[in-house]
Symmetry: C2
Subunit: 234 residues, 2 copies
């Protein structure tokens, strides 16, 4: 009997945003795996910490954190081999994933390597944009609204087209494109109602209007939400 | 002291997809409110049932279920007045919301009416599209993918433009537009990799390929997910 791989979304930061299913599976699996940087703590492991029982086999998987870059195939191969050892030996593995495993997560690259040979089950998690909307009372979509998650790496023209075509826009990780994004939002008359959130659910969490967020660059865990009608309920 | 309104996402159907925060607040609030149809059980109340302690004040709020229609202002006014009675009397209210409160939910119309006068806090919930992606192993987005939630009520041309412009597409509640949507997906070469999910996390849940979903209309709780690359990790 081989083990089952559980890809478990732990949400964006607040340990209380884990689902009951996530907590149950973390408690039940003998192996707890998580993406970890070369040095320092794993964020997913830190979020799940209150729910990880003592005495589990811990299995840090070295994965590139910058998921928008081309995936580092060798790192995923090595991570999959690490998990495979446990699964082949019959041990269930809880792989902790920041946010939702299938929404811009690294989980999918391990899933792609292991799902053909092992049972893989996925537990959805709260995304950073849903948590940020909840923190700020920003309604994402109503009725027949069109919603787009727009990569900030697109050209000005292309971002402008998305701004014109959709009612609700989500800009994840604006990073070094933040000043350009703010200028584009202003140009399209969307700046006043935009919401900026840093580190939702983590220490140092901040919710600001765009005018208050004066800096040119945004930290890694940040996002901008905006709705064409200001408030989606209008 | 007035009470606090908690808009609590209970996820799309599986009672284990409630977050710990949702469960804690449901247990702590003296009043449990939920949208309810004119007759029959409230779906949000049914999902949360294992977590609602006995002896709570129960407060069904009659709201239109068809959220894509123009909101029924009178129903929201009446619902807000109902909740206001409890809040003004100092009672905290847990308002149960299907999925996520701010993603196509009715919660926002009550929030709009009450947030100026009462403390309102929102607990994000798992959306039907995240739960459906998890059930089917359909990766929604990777790296710098563009994602769109596309209203099926748009014209063929407009839906076609969205299909061309985005890597990942989410079509919620295709309903009577299902045959047309399938034809458009075929026309744009996206039919083979599309995933169709009915009643995610509820009794009668079904996950099918588009070819297997032969009917012309889809039930109310259904959706279609598709990624331009087939698998987002490719």
């Amino acid at each position: 009997m081989t083990g089952t791989l559980y890809g478990i979304g732990v949400g964006p930061g607040d340990p209380e945003l884990l689902t009951l299913k996530a907590v149950r599976l973390i408690a039940a699996c003998p192996v707890i795996a998580y993406p970890a940087p070369e040095s320092g703590a794993s964020l997913a492991r830190t979020i799940a910490a209150p729910h990880v029982p003592a005495g589990r086999i811990e299995c840090p998987v070295r994965l590139p954190i910058e998921i928008e870059r081309h995936p580092a195939q060798a790192a995923y191969d090595a991570g999959a081999a690490l998990l495979e050892g446990h699964l082949a030996a019959g041990r269930d593995v809880a792989l902790l994933c920041l946010g939702d495993p299938l929404f811009y997560g690294s989980y999918m690259y391990l899933h792609a390597r292991l799902a053909g040979r092992f049972e893989c089950r996925i537990v959805p998690g709260i995304t950073s944009f849903a948590a940020s909307a909840a923190l700020t009372g920003h309604a994402l979509a109503a009725r027949s609204d069109s919603v787009a998650v727009v990569p900030v790496t697109l050209s000005d023209d292309e971002i402008g087209r998305r701004m014109a075509a959709h009612d609700s826009l989500v800009f994840l990780k604006p990073g070094r494109h933040f000043a350009r994004l703010k200028a584009l939002l202003t140009q399209h008359g969307l700046a006043c109602s935009a919401v900026y959130v840093e580190r939702a659910g983590m220490p140092g969490e901040r919710c600001l209007t765009l005018a208050e967020a004066g800096q040119d660059e945004a930290p890694y865990f940040s996002l901008v939400l905006v709705h064409r009608r200001g408030k989606a309920w209008q």
